[in-house]
Point group: C2
Chain length 225, copies 2
DNA sequence: CCAATGCTTCGGCGATCCCCGAAGCATGCC
DNA sequence: GGCATGCTTCGGGGATCGCCGAAGCATTGG
């Protein structure tokens, strides 16, 4: 017992303000350099290095080197999920927020969670895809149906590429603002990318907000309906 | 930025091994005394007092005095939800666990989450209730239908008492093992209580496992189907 | 090649926090 | 009423950890 449970380890990692700031900055799924994260955290570069090493060691971050630059990102969407849970809990306890949380109507409406669409729009899309049998729910898992494959391909998704990638195609991501799942995984990410590419919505800089244009919102509401 | 975000505050509270042990011990929704929590945490009584004060101040725990005894419990089911998220994340990162986590097949199958049924059985029940129109899903909310009221009353649930209580009747609780919601709120709790009262299942001592007897499992599978 | 930049490592400092013994207050039981 | 028990508060000790300056290594661009 004296060694503490492993939730303490995760908690301690999140529990430092500088590290919390870094994690928050990475919530939109973008990768940032060590220097950028140092600025986000408001600490010196060498201090940031120490923090980043801990987050890497703890499995919360992943890193890729590009020349002298090291790009850090969240190690997976589950990290984003858990951080969203913590944000939700913190907002309920009157804690100060670094940024508008899911109480922000726009973030509740549509936001980026790691690399896929979350919020009301994300959950609504998920509901349409399951109701329309494009996705099949199993025990804790989700699979694309053959019927769904055709629809996704028609929408411009490279389904073969999704299937050959190493990450799961479909994954249920728990949505804290809606308390129901939205779609994550390769397909979830591809759908968001496609929606942005079509100009239906755009991502606001330095924010997780996904803002639909009026015509895009109409088109989206019909998608897979 | 130097003040850190509020997720850091929650993280720091969870990040101490003694406090993490206390929170874990309270996951089943039962209330424990300060002395019992001191034992769970493996620290002296006065140390435990300090920790409990912090958890109270942070809004993670609530307390009720009964004579010289102080009974602590989690401040709400959202705390349990978030702790489950942390447990899930910790288990994915190869961290040590104090107890079998949701990787335990029995816990995945059926377990107590705060005061209601979670796991495969909890999620399956939720699916039956929504598919059968006993519950209606709104934007982030769940409501009991009139149709559902009759069914719940027939099952032995005091619906009027639920409605007059101060807590929400229906609440979606995100299930980390199944990645879909199970039912929380007054109704969720009442259903678990009823199931146990009927002898369909029982709660294992000092554990969150809910174990169905064979006949109870059969009856449960037909409930609201 | 050299200077600038990005990043990591080392070492020391200081703040914080958890630990428990001791003491005190409240409650319950005989 | 006295004693035992539950719990909290106070104070001191020691461990931990985040901080940054300095130094070193790697990469990039002129």
């Amino acid at each position: 017992m004296k060694h503490g449970p492993s939730i303490a380890r995760i908690g301690a990692l999140v529990g430092d303000p500088a590290r919390a700031n870094m994690l928050t900055a990475l919530m939109s799924g973008q990768a940032l350099t060590a220097g950028e994260l140092a600025i986000e955290a408001g600490v010196a570069a060498n201090t940031a290095s120490g923090h980043l090493a801990q987050l890497l060691d703890g499995g919360l971050l992943a890193v890729e080197k590009q020349g002298r630059h090291r790009y850090f990102r969240l190690a997976g969407p589950d990290i984003a999920e858990t951080l969203e849970a913590l944000m939700d809990l913190a907002s309920r306890n009157g804690g100060r927020r670094t940024r508008p949380g899911p109480k922000d109507p726009e973030l509740r409406r549509a936001r980026v969670c790691y690399d896929h669409l979350a919020g009301e729009q994300g959950v609504a899309l998920m509901a349409r895809m399951t109701a329309g049998k494009l996705l099949a729910l199993g025990d804790g898992s989700i699979e694309m149906t053959a019927h769904g494959e055709r629809h996704f391909a028609a929408f411009g998704i490279d389904v073969a590429a999704l299937k050959s990638a190493s990450r799961p195609v479909c994954r249920s991501c728990l949505d804290w603002s809606m308390r129901r799942p939205h779609l994550a995984g390769g397909l979830g990410a591809a759908l968001l990318t496609r929606i942005v590419h079509l100009g239906w919505a755009r991502r606001l800089p330095a924010s997780r907000i996904v803002r639909f244009v009026p015509s895009g919102e109409k088109a989206f509401a019909k998608l897979f309906a």
